[in-house]
Symmetry: C2
Subunit: 164 residues, 2 copies
């Protein structure tokens, strides 16, 4: 009998529990452009400093996922939200990214955003691309070679978007 | 006989001379998503704090244009440059944006970037879109309604890209 996944917002002081997931995902160098050797202070600052907001997905007290929600632009573009999601390598294939995406869409609506945009979906991450499409996102752009994938080298990046 | 346009890099301590151009362009609310009432300290921080670099285009001692060059992403995306250009309202139609674009492409190559990406070209700014196309940029994405144009309301935003 599996326990329920709980998703809740954290502040900077709660980021230490999310850091192992963040570190593992970024170190792999296959989905995020952050420096693979990024340190905890930099990660915490980027994902918890307002207007960025940070959420963790937990089960049985273990943090299995973390996501960030923020305005994609300041000022006259701040009606469009942006999110990034990370799932612990040992917790893949359990619907955690999907649950975080659903949660983020609700949080974004509640915060008054009218759309959500992903700027940097690595095209080789086909599982993620299909997942975002199932959640209503369309591919609205493709930037050739914008990501230096740790194993695949130069890789295209997708821009994805949906209204809320 | 018109004097030559000179383009040179400035630091944070030189931004005060660029600020009138920046302020006028952003206040118009038709090309940049920055808050129209942004203050000088915020603008200076965004455009002169490393890794962002700032350049001014001057003629007869007057700053007529300002542009910013930076990596578009950290880490595994930092081979792609990003730029933003602003021209003083009274100096439009004199080739200043074009001269700054050419200068920025040379500076970006010199700095080791292999491509340049614009994330937020307001689609109604047709003069700019055509200018960037003449400078080798292709439209690689279109985000619906990502800009709240001061006069036109919800306006699409283009992603443009070229290799270097």
């Amino acid at each position: 009998m599996s326990a329920t996944l709980a998703i809740r917002e954290i502040g900077a002081d709660g980021f230490a529990r999310a850091w192992p997931v963040f570190r593992a995902v970024v170190a792999a160098g296959d989905t995020y452009s952050y420096p693979p050797d990024i340190d905890e202070a930099q990660a915490r600052a980027m994902w918890t400093t307002p207007p960025s907001r940070c959420f963790v997905a937990e089960r049985d007290g273990d943090v299995l996922g973390v996501y960030m929600l923020r305005p994609n632009q300041p000022g006259l573009g701040d009606h469009v939200a942006n999110c990034g999601y990370m799932v612990a390598p040992h917790a893949r294939g359990q619907g955690i990214a999907s649950a975080m995406c659903t949660h983020s869409l609700e949080e974004a609506r509640r915060a008054g955003f009218s759309a959500m945009q992903y700027n940097f979906v690595v095209s080789s991450n086909e599982t993620a691309v299909r997942l975002w499409q199932r959640h209503g996102f369309a591919i609205v752009g493709r930037v050739p070679g914008a990501f230096r994938h740790a194993h695949l080298g130069s890789t295209d990046v997708l821009v994805m978007h949906r209204t809320l």
